[in-house]
């Protein structure tokens, strides 16, 4: 069988997240249905990971096996012409038989956008988290650097979630400011459940002066969820890219 890797953009606000679940609109299920219609096969689409309801993706990656003989470059056109406009296949590639979107993922990049303008945006309201109280971007930038490196991030995962280990490496944590929007960008070898939204919430507390930049290391070391900031809402979060070797 051929193994096809897809790069996918989607508008999170229209879905109950990536993962297939009965009676709730989800991205994985929509894609499996449409690819199934095109290939005449039952499709098992493996994503690089889930995204929650409301979370957007610019470059989610997923793969599926097929006996279809369709040229690989035709898949985006065929899928995009049948699927909801809130999902777009950006690229399709034929990959090695053993390629697995989740197991073989080396780096993921997420972006969280806080709209720190005085008034909210009408046009971009589903694409930003609006927070009007003025944030200190310089302190947030300093604080972000403390997240870089290999750490046990158990203070930064949703309570009640069980992963074998909560040790992850963040390769880069950067902050940009653009038109009054504060953009937090994190690249790591993997992220725990809600980890990016909790880091964003913690950086927001730094921006408010409630947490000092250098206190980030203590919060990481202590490992207590309640010492970190709130989980910010999903509409500000984007899965930007997923990298493999």
């Amino acid at each position: 069988m051929r193994n096809i890797k897809l790069t996918i953009e989607y508008d999170g606000k229209d879905f109950n997240g990536w993962q297939k679940q009965p009676n709730k609109l989800n991205i994985q299920g929509e894609l499996e249905k449409v690819i199934g219609e095109i290939t005449g096969e039952e499709i098992d689409l493996i994503g690089s990971g889930r995204t929650d309801a409301g979370v957007h993706a610019l470059g989610q990656v997923a793969n599926f096996k097929t006996n279809s003989t369709m040229p690989v470059e035709k898949f985006p056109i065929a899928i995009n012409s049948k699927i909801k406009k809130s999902i777009v296949i950006k690229k399709a590639e034929e990959v090695e038989d053993d390629f697995h979107s989740r197991y073989h993922c080396k780096r993921k990049t997420y972006r969280y956008i806080i709209d720190n303008n005085e008034t909210p945006s009408a046009i971009y309201r589903h694409l930003l988290y609006y927070f009007p109280q003025k944030l200190d971007v310089e302190d947030m930038t300093k604080a972000a650097k403390y997240f870089e490196g290999e750490h046990d991030f158990k203070a930064f995962k949703a309570s009640g979630t069980s992963s074998k280990s909560s040790v992850r490496t963040i390769y880069e944590a950067n902050i940009f400011e653009e038109n009054g929007r504060i953009i937090i960008e994190l690249t790591g070898n993997g992220f725990l459940y809600n980890m990016v939204r909790i880091i964003a919430g913690t950086l927001l507390e730094v921006g408010l002066g409630k947490i000092k930049p250098e206190e980030i290391l203590d919060i990481i070391k202590e490992g207590k969820r309640e010492k970190a900031g709130k989980t910010l809402p999903p509409q500000g979060l984007y899965l930007v890219k997923v990298e493999y070797e």
Copy 2:
């Protein structure tokens, strides 16, 4: 009575345009209703001009008379808290009694965004006009310059519309490219019905090589609607700002 000037952002996709009309959701009507509830008065809101269904605004201007004693800076908060999230008051100012949003307008700036990437965008699909065939931005930039100055733009207005004169002045016509998006920005003393969307459609023909940049002057001189390009769809159009003396 006090005269209050509002600067307004709205997401055009949710409305049948600016203008009040029965049984169709419109921006003017929604604002009059909410401001009426706040002031307890019947409000007559005068916009700088209409925008069509699907057209967005970053800085539409409108004004209304009121006997309300509410401090002017409270109006945005009061209106934004009651109105649909797809409309946001960015600013409220108290102006001279004779200020009129439409009559006194000196300059308007519109933006039209063509998404010229290979695949459409899922996330920004309501905010761009997607056109995948590769456009020649250099030729489009040259062509845009021919629109500058005072001209009779009768070739660039929707047929069947009657305005006394179709002479308008375009002060600036610029083209930018950003992430595969072509941004057409026009500033003028006024625009005829559909004029920006027809100019954008004509520049698109230039980008395709069907019209040469220097032919723009002939099309203006001849004044025949059929020589200009198609009217591009509303979702790519933004009213960016409205200026007064």
